[in-house]
Subunit: 215 residues, 2 copies
DNA sequence: TAGATTGTTAATCGATTAACAATC
DNA sequence: TAGATTGTTAATCGATTAACAATC
């Protein structure tokens, strides 16, 4: 069952498909055509069929796609059928906010521990998960079968913490620090650069204003 | 000075250029070639020159780019030379975390108010900014010259709040709610779908594991 | 069977890379 | 002037869209 290389452009659309299919399922919709789904998502039917077909033929000619089946299959493709144990490194405002966010748990992402270097934060609890000192990091990862580390520390510390992480069994880093991490292949990194996102917003505000001026 | 349509692919790279140039500036580097910058950013020199040239000729043949000048110019392109007043709607964990994040202020994004429908949260303060009831939303936006609304409320309420927002003078919505917003052109939307991001991470973990199995 | 809609191949479009003349 | 490096045009690559045969 060799899987051809899937472009990240396709991967980026999968969670959105998954979300819409979930909503359709909740609405009780049983089947949907690529045409209809495309209208909802504002994509071409062709693109949707291409995307889905990267992973296999989940539809049926003359019928379309079974909503629940496609939902489940995309869930599996996204790896949501497994449990992922994660830790949060950086128990500041953002780290605690993410720790409190229950929806991740619903998708199989379980918060197992939090870490911080600030002695003032150590011992605090977020949803019964205690904040631990950085010294315990490696042992904790090993003993608790941690897959994912969420980095919510200032950029200054992020690079060196990432270096510690890649020496462990960790499989992925969800990086909120405003710095690009260099990791060996085999460790996945997903960046959430909030300031970059805000700057894009700012760019688009300015661009629209200039467009208006011109006319 | 007609500006041709710039693709969002280019726009997405600008904040990263801006960040690296800022670091170079801080290091005291005066000039840099597209070649060198490309090596740092892991992009081709050609792409960097193309990207920059969308906005004008900021370099000099035989010399390269002046770091400080390019930094400033990209800052202007991103609209960081103006102040933006913003509000946060949804004073839960995430809203408060964003409200506490000081770096936005450094870039000219000023938190002016927070809103929530939960009476228990109203009156609380985040960095001297008080949480207000949703009823005051429209008046507050008008009276305080608000540009940007940050949406950190659950998806259930997000669509209707967005509908209220687009009737005001608001220019942009930074949307953290897990739902796609439909807004008229003229209102910019930037989505931060954290669960989508986490699912991409999960996909890549799974993909890598399968690759390993195969060999 | 006829109609609908997928799966898949071919055509188009856009973004990235390469090449090189212009010029500092 | 010679060397370096941009700005810009041309070539390539990849992603999206269109078309249509396969088939339920």
């Amino acid at each position: 069952m060799e899987e051809k290389e899937i472009s990240q452009a396709v991967v980026s659309r999968l969670p959105r498909y998954f979300r819409y299919l979930g909503e359709l399922k909740d609405e009780g919709v049983e089947r949907i055509s690529s045409q209809e789904l495309g209208e909802r998502l504002n994509l071409t039917a062709s693109q949707i069929r291409q995307d889905i077909n990267c992973f296999g033929g989940f539809g049926q000619q003359g019928y379309g796609y079974n909503v629940e089946y496609l939902y489940d299959e995309i869930g599996k493709i996204l790896g949501l059928d497994r449990k992922h144990n994660f830790i949060i490194i950086g128990a500041g405002n953002l780290g605690r906010a993410l720790g409190n966010y229950m929806n991740f748990e619903r998708r199989g992402f379980i918060l197992r521990g939090m870490f911080d270097q600030d002695p003032g934060l150590i011992g605090r609890e977020v949803r019964e998960v205690r904040v631990r000192p950085m010294e315990e990091l490696e042992d904790f990862i090993r003993e608790n079968d941690i897959d994912i580390a969420v980095l919510t520390i200032p950029k200054a510390g992020a690079v060196s913490v990432a270096e510690r992480l890649v020496k462990t069994q960790i499989r992925a880093i969800w990086n909120f620090a405003h710095v690009d991490l260099n990791v060996p292949e085999g460790v996945q990194v997903e960046n959430v650069h909030l300031s970059d996102s805000l700057m894009k917003l700012s760019y688009n505000i300015r661009r629209y204003m200039k467009e208006q001026e011109e006319t």
